[in-house]
């Protein structure tokens, strides 16, 4: 019994142990003896264990992706709770909503056929969301990408991400023929709207996903080349014309000369990563609060500071296994639409992690996107779990697929 509890053969138990240790640690943090931590911690452990258990019963598909993601979410919640208990508790609530959303989308997408025929719907819905962001949008931290409703703000771009993947998939499945020119017009309209909102990270993310899928499925290979050269021209133009982009590039090349102004955030992040060493300072013993926005975009620096480089490498490795599983799902799926969906969603998470991890480590210019599943943020977490639910559907054999193509000639047994 005891041995089984600690064995690497049962990863769920390891997760429970880690979360219980973290709850104990946070309970003692700053001698507050906070009952609240205990309640929310036990709630968290229960949610993770139960949802994994239910998924094993319900789904015949891949069970690893959900495990990997629960581990990432628990690391994230531990760090956020340590930085700010209020945010931490909210994140636990968002996480439970995310899990509900996961199962909701899982059953919804599984039970409805013909997702590939709704291309117009996806485009119109994204357009509505974009326009409402432009009209009702609130400017928070340099980007106008928030809508505020009854005191709750959310980012429509997080929903559009999923819609964009569905749009690409239904175009390349080719149910409704639209001309390549119109298709590219729509894609660049997406990018243009994001650019108007100053949401450069998300624009880059959309472009990466678009390039990945068109690299695999576009039959006219020259178009890929045109798109790539177009991207270079756009990048060059935006560097010359947009002040926002120039700052990002300058602070990437040499943040040290702007350490007191625009380079402050990135240099603090580098200090935090460096001060962690191999095993970190220990949770609660570092100073991640010196970094502005540490609970959202810069959560990785906080993890590196308090859990060490090994903790940071573990986060990157979890993302790597996740991406590997995602491609594996895409390879096994027979239905072309869901194959593209699987590639798109996997690429979306993979690139998003790459953009922000590279950004906080000063490998590529910093653009503000959240680290999926780890960063604090309600709309990001909830819509990411919706996408994960869709990926879970893609990992299964779709039973209605065969009847659809050959239903008219199924023979009767005499």
């Amino acid at each position: 019994m005891f041995k089984k509890l600690f064995s690497y053969r049962v990863p769920q138990n390891l997760m429970v142990i880690m979360n219980s240790m973290a709850v104990l640690l946070l309970y003692l943090y700053k001698d507050r003896l906070d009952r609240f931590v205990l309640i929310s911690g036990i709630l968290l452990i229960f949610i993770i264990y139960m949802s994994n258990f239910i998924l094993l019963k319900v789904s015949k598909g891949d069970h690893y992706i959900f495990l990997i993601i629960s581990m990432l979410v628990s690391i994230g919640i531990i760090m956020i709770y340590r930085i700010n208990p209020i945010y931490g508790f909210r994140q636990i609530i968002w996480f439970s909503l995310g899990i509900l959303n996961f199962f909701l989308f899982y059953f919804l997408v599984r039970s409805i056929k013909h997702w590939n025929k709704w291309l117009t719907f996806y485009v119109v819905l994204s357009l509505v969301l974009f326009l409402s962001t432009l009209i009702f949008g609130v400017r928070i931290k340099g980007a106008t990408n928030w809508i505020r409703i009854y005191g709750y703000s959310f980012q429509p771009a997080e929903i559009i991400k999923v819609l964009f993947v569905f749009f690409l998939a239904s175009y390349f499945t080719g149910f409704r023929k639209i001309k390549p020119v119109i298709f590219h017009g729509i894609v660049y309209a997406y990018l243009g709207f994001l650019f108007l909102q100053r949401d450069l990270g998300t624009a880059m993310l959309f472009y990466f996903v678009f390039t990945t899928i068109s690299y695999i499925y576009e039959e006219n290979r020259k178009l890929i080349l045109y798109n790539l050269s177009g991207a270079f021209i756009m990048a060059g133009l935006s560097y010359l014309l947009v002040n926002h982009v120039q700052i990002r590039v300058q602070t990437w090349i040499n943040p040290w000369i702007y350490i007191d102004s625009k380079g402050y955030q990135i240099t603090q992040s580098l200090f935090a990563i460096a001060s962690g060493g191999f095993f970190g300072t220990g949770i609660g013993l570092g100073h991640p609060e010196y970094i502005p926005e540490v609970h959202t975009d810069f959560i990785f620096s906080a993890i590196c500071e308090e859990m060490g480089i090994f903790g940071g490498i573990a986060v990157i490795m979890l993302f790597l296994i996740f991406v590997y599983r995602g491609f594996k799902i895409a390879l096994q799926q027979n239905n072309k639409f869901f194959r593209i969906i699987a590639i798109g969603i996997t690429a979306m998470f993979g690139f998003q992690a790459f953009i922000i991890l590279g950004g906080v480590m000063k490998v590529i210019p910093l653009t503000g996107v959240t680290l999926p599943f780890v960063s604090y943020g309600g709309s990001s977490l909830v819509s990411s779990f919706a996408a994960l639910g869709i990926l879970q559907v893609a990992s299964e054999e779709l039973e209605w697929e065969q009847e659809e193509n050959h239903g008219f000639r199924i023979q009767k047994d005499s």
Partner: protein, 143 residues
């Protein structure tokens, strides 16, 4: 108290996370190994002759025959072939004293062995071609 605990726990956290990653990778490895092991085993097996992606339904490349098996469109068969030309209970491969026999269950479109329609149970030899519906298998055994 807290500081000491935190200093000790940081090693445990990293140990647990890595054990977790190791556990997942091991499970994935076993998953892949189970797929590739089938083709190297010593028991006779059925190999798909059609190109897998030319068939519009789910089918495996290799089916091992370690016991008597049934084939058909119904879910309770050992080999489920959701081909519209395959009957619900189409055919059966019987293992009898280390020999394999192919038998047809009065299927609507029949079972073919090396191009001839099957009338009675017939003993299978290495290299025989079994056709049911659009699907064609090769029977491979070591004798």
């Amino acid at each position: 108290m807290f500081n000491l605990l935190s200093l000790i726990f940081r090693y445990f956290f990293i140990l647990i996370i890595y054990a977790f990653i190791f556990g997942i990778i091991r499970m994935i490895y076993l998953d892949i190994k189970a797929i590739s092991e089938v083709s190297v085993s010593n028991t006779p097996y059925l190999k798909l002759i059609n190109r897998k992606d030319s068939l519009p339904f789910k089918i495996k490349e290799v089916y091992t025959l370690d016991d008597t098996i049934t084939m058909g469109r119904n879910k309770d068969n050992d080999i489920v072939i959701v081909d519209p030309y395959v009957s619900n209970h189409h055919a059966k491969i019987i293992l009898d004293e280390n020999f394999y026999f192919l038998e047809d269950f009065d299927s609507a479109n029949g079972t073919y062995l090396n191009g001839d329609k099957l009338m009675d149970a017939i003993k299978l030899r290495n290299g025989d071609r079994i056709k049911l519906g659009q699907v064609e298998f090769l029977f491979v055994s070591n004798d």
